[in-house]
Amino acid sequence: MDQDNRIGDTLLEVKNISLSFGGVKALTDISFDIKEGEIRAIIGPNGAGKSSMLNVINGFYHPQEGEVWFRGKKRESMKPYQVARQGVARTFQNIALFKGMSTLDNLMTGCITHMKTNIFLQAIWKGPAEREELEFRERVEHIIDFLGIQAIRKTPVGRLPYGMQKRVELGRALAAQPKLLLLDEPMAGMNLEEKEDMSRFILDVNDEFGTTITLIEHDIGVVMDLSDRIVVLDYGCKLADGTPDVVRNDQAVIDAYLGVSHDD
C-alpha cells in the first residue's frame, strides 16, 4: 500500500483525556491522534479503557478533563447524535442492530443523518420524499453489493447468524458515509474464515471509500497486519503508540499485554 498518498492530515485528536466513574479511573491523561485515511488500532488487556475511549470519541461519555479536536476544531460537549451528524459512525462489541427491522431498513436507517424531507412531505410521499428515498436506496444497494448481502436484504436481522449480523452492522455504519469509522471488536467471536472476510472488508472500505478507521481488536495477528499505527492502553493509561513494529518490540507492551513467546 502506498502509505504516503493514503494518509493525510490529522482528522481527530484527543488531548489529555481523563475519565472516571466515581472513584474508578477509566482513563488517565490519554492523548493521541488519528490521521485522515489511516487504520488506527487501540489494543490492550480487558478493562484497559479501550471501549471507554471510543465512547468518549463518539460523545457517549463526557470526560472530566481533556479535549477532543475533530477536523481542526475543538469539540464542545456534544450528544451522541450530534457527533454522528458530524460524520462519526461506529459498530458495537455486542451487536446493536435494530432486530425487528430488515437488513435493508437497518442500512437505510444508517443514512438517516443525510435525509432531509420533513414530516409533511413524508406524509404525501409522492414527490420529494420518494425521490430522496430512492436516491438513498441506490446508495444503500451499493453497500449491499459491496458486502455481498443481497440475499438477506429483506430478512429481519434478528433471524440472521452472528457473523452476518456483524456484517450488517458494518453496513449500517458505512451507510452514514462517515469520515471516521469506529469499530469495537469487529471480529470478536468469529471463526478464521469470517475474520478473513471482515479484514478484507475493512481494508476495502479504507481503500475504496478512503474512510478513516479506528478499531479495537484482540486478535493481535489481525491488528498488526491491518493497522498503520497502534495505541496500547493498560489500566486507563497509554503504554505505547506507534507503528506495529515499534509496538511489537516495546518492552512495556510485551510485559503488560503481548507476553513472551516461549519459542524464543
Binding site: 447524535y81 432486530k99 425487528g100 436507517t109 443523518t113 414530516i119 444497494e141
Partner: protein, 358 residues
C-alpha cells in the same frame, strides 16, 4: 393466478418499495375501496351505520394512532381515552365557536389540538420507559377526564355536564346531529380513515418511520447513529395523538352525538384500543384495522347469533359474549403473540413456496 408473491418480479426500486408489492394485493385494495366508496353508501341502513361500520372506522382510527406510538415507536400508552376526550372536547368547542366551519376541518383541528396536548404528556417518555411510562400516561388519562368533568367551560356550563354535538355540515349535507343521514356519516368517516391510513403508511415506511422503529428496537444505538431521541419520541407522540384526537372527535361528533367524559372516554377505552393494537399486530397498519374489526365486529356478530338466531335472553348473551371474547383474545395471543397481522404475514410466506413445505 395463485395468490402469492413468487414470480412477481420488480425491475426498479420504486416498484420494490411500494405499499402493496404483490399485484393481487393491489387489486384487492382497490376493489375493496371502490366497493366501500361506491356500493356500500347506496345500501347502508341505520343499523349497519350505527352498530357496525362507523364504530369500526372510528376505532380503527384510534388503533392506527396508538399503533404509531406503541407499535412503531415502542412507547406504551394508557392515555388513549384521555386523548380521545381532548379530541372530542376540542371538536365540541370548535363547533360552538365557529358554527359555519366545515366539519372536516373541525375534526382536523381537533386532531391538531390533541397533538399539542400529546406532546406535553409525551415529555416524560424521555426519562422513563416501558411499564413506568405506561403508568405516567395513565396519569394523563385520569387528569384529562377529571379536568373535563370539573371545569364547566369545557361543557359550556350545561346543567347535565354532557356535551351534545350540534348539526354541522359539509357541502350542505349534515354530518353531525340527529338528522345526519347514514350514508353521509359513513362516507365522512371512511374518507378520513382512508386518507389517514395511507398517510400513516407513508410516514411509517420512510425516514420518520425508521427513526421510530429504531427507537423501539434499541434507543441507545439509534442515538449513536444520529437520531435525536427527543425529536423521534415527541414526533411519535404528536402524530399518534393527532390520530387519536381525530378519532375522539369522530366518536363524539359523528357517532355518539353526545358524551360524558367518564363514560365515553374512560380507562376501559384506553385498554380497548391497546388490546386492538396488540391483537391486530404491533407495528402494522393492517393490524390496526384487523384489531379494531376483531374487538368491534365480533361482539356484534355474536350478539346477532345468540339473540337473533338462538333467541337467548339479551343479558345472558352479553355475559357469554364477554367470556367468549376473553377466551378468543387468550387463544390468539397464545397461538400468535405478534397478532393477526403476523398470522397474515406467515400465510403469505407459506404461500410463497406452496405447495412445497420448504
Amino acid at each position: 393466478m395463485f395468490y402469492r408473491e413468487s414470480g412477481d418480479f420488480k425491475t426498479n426500486y420504486a416498484d420494490d418499495q411500494q405499499s402493496f408489492p404483490i399485484k393481487l394485493d393491489r387489486y384487492a385494495v382497490w376493489v375493496l375501496l371502490a366497493f366501500a366508496f361506491f356500493v356500500v353508501p347506496f345500501f347502508i341502513n341505520d343499523y349497519w351505520e350505527k352498530s357496525v361500520l362507523v364504530p369500526f372506522l372510528v376505532w380503527s382510527m384510534a388503533a392506527l394512532g396508538l399503533n404509531i406510538l406503541t407499535g412503531y415507536c415502542g412507547q406504551v400508552s394508557l392515555g388513549t381515552g384521555g386523548f380521545m376526550a381532548v379530541g372530542a372536547y376540542s371538536c365540541y368547542k370548535l363547533m360552538i365557536a365557529f358554527p359555519g366551519l366545515n366539519i372536516f376541518f373541525v375534526v382536523i383541528l381537533a386532531g391538531i389540538i390533541t397533538a399539542i396536548v400529546g406532546i406535553a404528556f409525551g415529555l416524560p417518555s424521555l426519562r422513563i420507559k416501558g411499564f413506568y411510562l405506561a403508568v405516567a400516561t395513565l396519569a394523563s388519562q385520569f387528569f384529562l377526564i377529571w379536568m373535563f368533568n370539573k371545569i364547566p367551560w369545557f361543557y359550556n356550563y350545561s346543567s347535565s355536564g354532557m356535551i351534545t354535538a350540534p348539526e354541522r355540515t359539509m357541502f350542505g349535507i349534515a354530518i353531525s346531529g340527529p338528522s345526519a343521514p347514514s350514508w353521509a356519516t359513513y362516507l365522512f368517516c371512511l374518507t378520513l380513515v382512508t386518507i389517514f391510513a395511507f398517510i400513516a403508511r407513508n410516514l411509517t415506511r420512510g425516514r420518520i418511520g425508521r427513526a421510530w422503529k429504531s427507537i423501539h428496537d434499541m434507543d441507545i444505538a439509534a442515538e449513536i447513529i444520529g437520531i435525536p431521541p427527543l425529536q423521534a419520541k415527541l414526533s411519535a407522540f404528536a402524530v399518534s395523538s393527532f390520530y387519536i384526537g381525530m378519532s375522539g372527535a369522530m366518536l363524539f361528533g359523528v357517532y355518539l352525538g353526545s358524551a360524558e367524559p367518564g363514560e365515553a372516554f374512560g380507562i376501559d377505552k384506553s385498554f380497548l384500543v391497546l388490546f386492538m393494537v396488540i391483537i391486530g399486530g404491533l407495528g402494522s397498519i393492517l393490524g390496526s384495522f384487523l384489531g379494531a374489526a376483531f374487538l368491534i365486529l365480533v361482539p356484534v356478530l355474536m350478539k346477532n347469533i345468540m339473540v337473533g338466531a338462538f333467541g337467548w335472553p339479551a343479558d345472558l348473551a352479553a355475559h357469554l359474549e364477554l367470556l367468549f371474547i376473553g377466551a378468543l383474545i387468550m387463544f390468539f395471543l397464545v397461538v400468535e403473540p405478534h397478532g393477526l397481522a403476523q398470522l397474515w404475514r406467515m400465510t403469505k410466506e407459506k404461500l410463497r413456496l406452496w405447495p412445497f413445505p420448504h
